[in-house]
């Protein structure tokens, strides 16, 4: 453990608690990602956003049209799903093709031997011309105005044509680039909207993890204060986590999650035998992860739970610990686990807590609620908090925020 400028049990207990929150927040993020993958939510959200972006009630919903375009349609895995991501170039190409197709007409004309044959008119015209014609044919609308402006802005002088009227030619590459920027800007704004949509789910998942792992924040805080060994162990891991976050070049949540997990796995693997404290969560996860699309998330959650198990934190469901210890033994179907050897002061505290009383029940309820709320703040929040706290602990180093690190 590194030398600390601030060596205060209360401060260290806070760091330990923040470390637990940061760690469990990773689990919540992984679960949310797995849930989104299973429900194909990102794809559905993207589809809705693009439908909204390109909906022109006076003409067509070009969002629907570009989802029919082979570039986008081929990205779908099955009839039930939509692509999670559409590159700007693919979007621009699909939109241009769709608009240009409005200038094409298929006629079925009389052919030889009592037949009709197809006659597609306009196909041989260059794409840029077809695009302009397709836009011209649209009913007047705000979307048409937008497209016309895009086209006008991307016309370049064509000196080789002598006629005054034909001096400008549409530069398709420039237009594609501008359409791509427009799409990217819109998607950036929509990312915020998606995150807002996720907040409710994050709260639910946070609470679910708190309940399933029986994480009572008030209890944890008390144990961290009473148990120096555990506190020191947690501070050591908090410092390692902070170092991993600061060292990570990629500051995206996913990258930080991987870096932290790698660091902690290296620290703890194989030290302690796995217990069954997380059985409830494991059973729930088996249902969530019963799908080939969430293999990565399954591996990450397995590693997280393995590391968590090795920390031997006072959490998880056990017949000998609150709140199960409050109910009649006969009701409790789980195997009895031998109590962990504890110091006298801890033993006293645990004995009192395991006795059934209204006060303990209320404290447990609020403790779990606090955990649920804390986990819903998300991993990035707790990573930042952890880095700041560790920096303060280490001789008052000025903490770096994520924004500063990004800069």
């Amino acid at each position: 453990m590194s030398t600390a400028a601030i060596d205060n049990p209360y401060f260290d207990a806070i760091i330990s608690l923040v470390m637990v929150y940061a760690f469990l927040s990773i689990l919540v993020s992984v679960l949310l990602e797995a849930w989104n993958k299973r429900t194909k939510e990102r794809g559905v959200f993207l589809q809705k956003v693009i439908f909204r972006l390109l909906d022109d009630p006076l003409n067509r919903n070009y969002g629907y049209a570009i989802y029919q375009h082979p570039i986008i349609n081929k990205m779908r895995k099955d009839g039930d799903s939509y692509p999670h991501y559409i590159p700007a170039e693919g979007f621009a190409n699909a939109l241009i093709d769709t608009l240009a197709e409005q200038a094409l007409t298929v006629h079925y004309i009389d052919g030889p031997d009592n037949t009709y044959t197809k006659d597609e008119r306009g196909r041989q015209t260059p794409l840029a011309e077809r695009l302009q014609e397709g836009v011209r044919l649209m009913n007047d609308s705000e979307f048409k105005r937008l497209l016309t402006n895009f086209i006008d802005r991307n016309k370049v002088a064509l000196n080789t044509v002598p006629s005054e009227a034909e001096k400008l030619r549409l530069d398709l590459d420039k237009l594609k680039l501008e359409l791509g920027h427009w799409y990217d800007d819109f998607m950036d704004r929509s990312t915020g909207e998606f995150k807002n949509n996720q907040r409710g789910k994050l709260q639910l998942l946070g609470l679910a993890v708190a309940v399933m792992l029986n994480v009572d924040s008030l209890h944890l805080a008390r144990v961290f204060l009473l148990d120096k060994d555990l506190r020191d162990r947690m501070v050591e891991r908090a410092e390692a986590t902070s170092d991993a976050i600061v060292a990570s070049k990629d500051t995206s949540e996913a990258a930080l999650r991987v870096a932290v997990l790698r660091k902690l796995t290296a620290l703890d693997t194989g030290k302690v035998k796995r217990t069954q404290a997380d059985t409830v969560l494991m059973r729930a996860l088996a249902v969530v992860f019963d799908d080939s699309t969430v293999v990565r998330e399954k591996q990450q959650s397995d590693s997280l739970l393995a590391v968590l198990d090795q920390w031997q934190l006072p959490m998880g469901w056990s017949c000998t610990e609150a709140p199960l210890s409050w109910v009649q033994k006969e009701w409790c179907a789980c195997e009895s686990v031998p109590p962990t050897p504890r110091k006298e002061i801890l033993l006293k505290y645990f004995t009192a807590r395991n006795e059934r009383s209204l006060k303990q029940a209320v404290l447990w309820f609020f403790g779990v609620l606090i955990t649920g709320f804390s986990l819903s703040l998300g991993a990035p929040f707790w990573f930042d908090a952890l880095v700041k706290l560790i920096n303060i602990r280490r001789s008052g180093l000025k903490p770096k925020t994520t924004d500063q690190r990004n800069a």
Partner: protein, 423 residues
């Protein structure tokens, strides 16, 4: 060998359907949760689980009684296809027994005006553009009808819009679906009828008391108990106005938009149109519906909504006008109707009864291939040949389309025809 045509089918995919479409299927008390229910049912696993559940004895009985849930599941299963082409191919597979040349009339539906709520579904022009692509891929077997709605375009605008599509043979006829909020005698359809009559272009109209309906408030589409008509002096208008007034004064019907079918789709609504355009080639789909055909529409009579038997009404109108047709789509799912249908096909109206299934709406009743078998077996092949080959050809024949001709899959690429100059 006969060449068969299914005169009544739909191929729209989930993307064509507005967000509020589920209201046409769900009971009113669930309308507020339509989005959430749609979200849950979009999952293939959920749909499969519900179907397994529906196979159990108890729940199955419960489900089959109102069949709402199964209808949603089946609809979404097919509608969840990526494209209308995939929906078409699903349907085509079921007709292997009739040979690869079997033709399908795909009826498009303008769902943009089904409610005043906003929805970011595929607009009608998207649906038609996609339909045209399917026709380009299967020009000889895919024969779409273009839907007309006087709230989309009116008068000469509507006529020219339809005319352009029918004249270049991208679409073979016109589809009307008044239940989504307009009357067939709307003045906005006048020019279209005139042109359709002159060119013998077939019109298909939905005609049962069930089906998709206007999901908003009735007050939005029925502001006046005496809506103007294209033939205001027609004697039927008095009856029609009286019925609309009764409908508006009846709290039950006025508050539940699903009863709108009773008022907008009534066969008598077409009589002013047919008086003005007696040679109009009009097909009343579903032959009034199986309940009416079997005279089982007791529920409606007890509610004093309307005492008319639509099946009888359709037959009466067919007797008056030589170009009025009917089809047996959806009605054919009921095995009890076949004896009566066989008699009707052998009777004087037999040449104007057409074969159609209403695929994929009928999936809640039976798989398409089973319905086909049921129909061929129930009517006998001779009658089936008449209604599915000869009668359908007569109905489809117009100034612009000859069903005896085949459309070959070769391209003739014309010279550029755009107005803009070449660089």
């Amino acid at each position: 060998m006969e060449r068969y045509t299914n005169i009544h089918s739909h191929v729209f995919s989930g993307g064509c359907v507005p967000d509020y479409f589920l209201k046409t299927i769900l009971p009113k008390r669930f309308h507020a949760y339509a989005d959430e229910i749609m979200w849950i049912l979009r999952s293939e696993r959920v749909r499969s689980a519900l179907e397994v559940w529906a196979e159990w004895r108890g729940p199955a009985r419960l489900l089959r009684r109102n069949s709402k849930l199964l209808r949603i599941i089946q609809f979404l299963r097919v509608g969840a296809q990526n494209t209308q082409e995939e929906v078409f191919l699903c349907m085509k597979q079921a007709y292997a027994a009739l040979g690869p040349n079997t033709r399908f009339v795909a009826l498009t539906l303008n769902m943009d005006h089904m409610d005043v709520q906003s929805s970011s579904h595929a607009r009608i022009e998207d649906q038609l553009a996609e339909i045209e692509r399917v026709r380009a891929h299967y020009p000889d077997t895919f024969l779409p009808f273009v839907c007309a709605d006087p709230r989309h375009k009116q008068g000469n605008d509507l006529r020219d819009w339809v005319k352009e599509k029918v004249e270049r043979r991208a679409f073979m006829g016109i589809k009307l679906y008044p239940a989504i909020g307009y009357f067939p005698f709307d003045t906005g359809l006048d020019a279209l009828y005139a042109w359709a009559e002159q060119n013998a272009v077939p019109i298909m109209t939905h005609c049962t008391r069930q089906g998709t309906f206007y999901t908003g408030s009735m007050a939005q589409v029925l502001p006046d108990p005496k809506p103007a008509g294209l033939h205001s002096t027609a004697p039927e208008m008095a009856d029609i106005h009286a019925r609309i007034k009764r409908f508006m004064n009846n709290d039950l019907t006025w508050d539940h938009s699903n009863y709108g079918c009773n008022i907008f789709l009534h066969p008598q609504n077409y009589e002013p149109v047919l008086r003005k355009y007696p040679r109009l080639k009009l097909c009343f789909a579903h032959f009034g519906g199986d309940d009416e055909l079997l005279n089982k529409a007791q529920e409606l009579r007890t509610r004093k909504l309307d005492d008319t038997n639509w099946h009888v009404e359709v037959k009466r109108i067919m007797g008056l006008y030589a170009n009025v047709y009917t089809d047996i789509s959806y009605t054919l799912h009921n095995p009890k109707v076949y004896t009566q249908l066989a008699g009707l096909i052998d009777g004087p109206l037999g040449e104007r009864i057409l074969f159609g299934t209403d695929c994929f709406m009928t999936l809640k009743e039976a798989p398409e291939a089973d319905l086909l078998k049921r129909c061929m077996g129930g009517l006998g092949m001779d009658r089936f040949n008449r209604i599915a080959a000869r009668n359908t050809d007569t109905y489809l024949r117009s100034q612009h389309f000859e069903p005896a001709k085949t459309t070959v899959l070769t391209w003739t690429r014309s010279t550029p025809t755009l107005n803009t100059p070449e660089p």
